[in-house]
Symmetry: C3
Subunit: 368 residues, 3 copies
């Protein structure tokens, strides 16, 4: 099905030659189809003759052959496999081309300039031209937002915060002690700049908070996922480099810094003062201890537990994390062990004991 | 102690025969006790003669014998063990019977019909009869809520959203691009329908967002926990089937779908396009990669890392996940290894090396 | 750099003798430096002659030698290593002393007494003297806040809640069914007191909610991190003991209780009815199943999966959790296995099979 117009206003129909241009296809490659009109994008298995779909690899080749889509963006080597009547739109980067076509039909909504009468905006706050501030948003003293900011219902921007142009600060998000570049997005309920987890014990066992005197700095095009948290620095800043994206429910501790284009998937946690290079990818639910250095283009696997530095370009996974090939070998070994009925039995234990020439092993099978 | 009346208004006292009827006990089984009055429910170890407690298995049998509760709902085979003066209320499903009795004494509060003067409700939004909209709630253009909706302080319901009857949308929750059935609950700070984690790289290393043009569809009686996140579909919908419940801080990626009655415990993460059948149970902090199929009634253990399909009815755990029996064997083996002082020593390493007929093994003990 | 005055107002400059007194140094130990003025605190590697830094161990000794800081708080045995012109401020607890000095320069802001005109405060709610209630905060019927409360924008305090003096309830936080002591902090988006994950199935496969009739009790100085969740009790209370601190995105299930001074790092999950003693430390992303007893001063490692009781003072890690020494041995063994190229190969499998005298092992290498 095409996008539900209740939620995603569409700008269609569009001519195919326009669509192809947006998708980056060479001009004049369409012949008679150039003027053909298309109404929307749709998934490959559901698209109809007036809709555009895409395929980015062989995984869904069967779906391509059965598709009724009027046109399909796809890798050049698969162009010959489109059904009769379907226009092939070959692209070296089909997903990127499709993203651009989808944005043609459904452009990101521009802010509706204006400040809702219920918004509380400090007298000396500065809002750039074309900005939209929604109901019950609160913008603090001396805050500065660039042009075309979108500030959603109930969003809170603390005193002194600075955002460049084209900020998107969604409903319920909060940003304090924050300096951000252009085209920065905070998704719903994101929490940026709050006090981190810093305290120290007295001899009597009380905890004394260590004042957290830093800030958060977000580079251009940084995005923070829904309900994700980025704590400000203790001394100095917590820094997310340009293009870095955090998925939902991520935790970034005080004084973490990342280079450009890091991708941090949902529910990852990065402890304080750990530093990422550029284009580091961290898969879902991984955890990194503090004061580590993760080199550029390192890739960290889902649920990994990283306790030591990772060199640039290395792939690690497991907990504790180790190089991926090693982790897979170890996991395979454990899987085979688990499938072997003798594992853990008294007989097997006796054999292992004899081999290890050590005392009889531990407690009986108390795994929980 | 009984429920604190500051927070949980009570409707007691009630006659025992009424209580027994609500609990599903057969009529006429109470004799002289039928008219006895009870004031409230309470935990077994604290309940007094005017309170009702429950016991759902042998685990707390000692507490039963010492209980001063006036009546106890319990399995039939334990009915003979109630102390003198305590009325036994045998039930094949004691926890369910107790839930019904607790709801008799403390019914879920009905909405207080009315729209707070500070709520911002679009002119063309539709609110069913008996609905309550709290302070600073924001309901967008064309949104539709059925009868007896409860919308808490600061809740945000986006344009075009649809909820059936008896919706409960608690304080600070947000729902956009969402179509929901009856008796759907969003707990405090839940985030439904926001843009998911969808982008693709350009050759220059920038990330281009892929417009997320789907929706979220919630079946009847779906519940979303506090601060949990459910992203809308990229194309097509993210779907939670009827009766499915998400605990707090769960992450549901775009285009995930579940069947009916799935139970997803706190801090679980499910990556995009993974499909669950009916009555799948996923224990706390487990993670599932994308594009998987999890069969009905599968059970996934706490902290599991599921990277491949799980057939219906199978129990898996571990990371990578494997059948539970295998995982327990492997864990037991590791536990014994860990308890054995020779493990990892130079002597043991030499032995293992000789057995494997390979080169001496890796680096010294750098585990973090 | 020193603290950004846009975000962290400073009270400097201060005389060094005042600073030293706050830091707990003995009087009269400064000589001619006593009247020297300092402007702010700063990190060791950036501080200038008018700034104070600290060092709490040997890790950054190189940075000390190159520091331009005018004074450095540090362990007594390193006092002799300060560069020429830098005043050494020896302290047995440098981090604590620095926390106190930082608070001298940047005291936690006192509430600005007053109730924002947009706050919705129930007529019978009680606010202690000197309290500040921010825009769009909602305080319910019969709620009681002690002196000098700070209630941030959009915070919600439910009917009947009680907080002692010096509460800090940050923007977007919500507290219902909650009774708290003095100096309690809820960070941005924290969720306290909502209904927990309690339901039971009917024979037809529907889920019936079990009324959650308890409360949350927070001791003096408890802190709840940003977007963290603490569910109220099902019957009886969820209790966090005095001084206990939760980091961001933590999940506390119904009827959990902790003693004093527990430290629960980001993204930890504790299942219902588990009880912690005093000064238990739980590192990031660990998970604890329900109904466990964790003894005082136990330490639970990052990403641990605790499935059984932990005695007082024990250190455990791994999933399933085991004593730390054992877990390290097991992890080391796995790491070596993973690094050994023969692991998992057909030849190695054949050898292991022969040794175990069991049938050939399981499936081929399908790890994902």
């Amino acid at each position: 099905m095409a996008a539900d117009p209740r939620f995603h206003a569409g700008t269609g129909p569009h001519r195919l030659d326009r669509i192809a241009a947006v998708a980056g296809l060479p001009e004049g490659s369409l012949g008679a189809d150039a003027a053909r009109l298309f109404e929307d994008v749709a998934p490959l298995h559901e698209a109809g003759p007036a809709q555009i779909a895409f395929l980015d690899g062989r995984r869904h080749l069967a779906a391509l052959r059965e598709s009724r889509a009027g046109a399909v963006i796809l890798p050049p080597d698969l162009a010959g496999q489109v059904p009769e009547g379907c226009v092939a739109l070959p692209s070296p980067a089909p997903h990127l081309a499709f993203a651009r076509v989808a944005a043609l039909f459904h452009p990101a909504p521009a802010p509706l300039p204006g400040i809702h009468p219920t918004a509380v905006v400090a007298a000396d706050a500065v809002l750039g031209e074309g900005s939209e501030v929604g109901p019950y948003a609160v913008i603090g003293a001396g805050a500065v937002l660039g042009a075309r900011a979108y500030v959603g219902p109930h969003a809170v921007i603390g005193p002194g915060c600075v955002f460049g142009d084209d900020a998107r600060i969604h409903a319920h998000a909060s940003a304090i002690c924050c300096i951000a570049g252009h085209r920065v997005t905070l998704h719903h309920g994101a929490r940026v700049g709050q006090e981190g987890f810093g305290f120290t014990p007295t001899p009597e066992g009380r905890y004394v908070t260590i004042p957290q005197l830093g800030r958060v700095r977000l580079g251009d095009e940084v995005e923070i996922g829904a309900n994700a948290c980025v704590d400000r620095g203790a001394l100095g800043d917590t820094v997310l480099g340009p293009g870095t994206r955090l998925d939902n429910l991520v935790q970034i501790g005080h004084n973490v810094s990342t280079g450009r284009g890091c991708v941090i998937v949902a529910q990852v946690g990065i402890s304080g003062s750990t530093r990422l290079g550029d284009y580091v990818t961290i898969a879902g639910q991984a955890g990194l201890t503090g004061h580590l250095t993760i080199g550029s283009k390192a890739r960290i696997g889902a649920q990994a537990g990283v306790q030591s530095d990772v060199p640039p370009g290395q792939d690690v996974t497991g907990s504790p994390a180790m190089p991926v090939k090693d982790a897979l070998r170890a996991a395979l070994y454990l899987r085979k062990l688990g499938a072997r009925k003798g594992t853990g039995s008294a007989a097997a234990t006796a054999r292992e004991t004899a081999e290890q020439k050590g005392p009889p092993a531990g407690r009986p099978g108390h795994t929980d």
